[in-house]
Subunit: 104 residues, 2 copies
DNA sequence: ACAATAAGTCAACAAAAGATGACTACTCTA
DNA sequence: TAGAGTAGTCATCTTTTGTTGACTTATTGT
């Protein structure tokens, strides 16, 4: 999969880049679950019936690269990885609430 | 059969619907141009190099069905059709500005 | 030692989204 | 009355996105 990068070129349409980052089959649900608490890969897969490792992995990677999720290795037992909403990521969820209020 | 045993996680995600409506290859640009004034089909095609009649037509139809654009027949010469941002549509553009300010 | 869990990657296939070019139907101008 | 402009539709092709199932590497529980 290609990595997402905001093109400086499309200065004339700022919404394009961010919309590309937050759209995708599973990303809205990932945000919703991330609000409730830290995400873990296999658990997330089980919470998204019909999804695939591939697309969940790609979604998590893209959201992390965009700075909306942070990935941390938790050195407890069992050793595992957690994805948390970053500050930016929380802003996005607030905007989702606005969208819902005005439009939905 | 489909009724029982729905997805564990179908606490329906409100952002999902609206995100589906506003995402697509040309929709962000269509919003940007709609802010500047009423849209017309052929003119829009010329303003979106690389786009196709098909996808522009589909985008306009979906945005209209979602109540973000209004379609009006202008009975002047030449007889033509105009797409305007609705109140909802304007709210969406404001949210794009927020996205850009917080995230971009 | 062995199986299970955690977090993935990869190649192949399928489904969805978008592009292309032909065609329709109506209006307007010369 | 012919040609250009308006706003599309439709079938077909290509590109992008997502799914499937096999495989990997390290950690943990019995």
């Amino acid at each position: 999969m290609t990595t997402l990068h905001l093109k400086e070129n499309s200065e004339h349409c700022p919404a394009e880049g961010i919309l590309k980052i937050i759209s995708g089959k599973w990303k809205p649900q990932i945000f919703r679950l991330a609000i409730q608490g830290p995400l873990r890969f296999n658990s997330l897969l089980r919470q998204l019936p019909g999804s695939s490792k591939q697309s969940v992995a790609v979604a998590l990677r893209e959201l992390e690269e965009a700075g909306l999720l942070t990935k941390t290795v938790v050195k407890e037992k069992p050793l595992h990885i957690e994805y948390h909403l970053s500050e930016k990521g929380e802003q996005v969820t607030h905007i989702f609430v606005s969208l819902q209020r005005f439009i939905g």
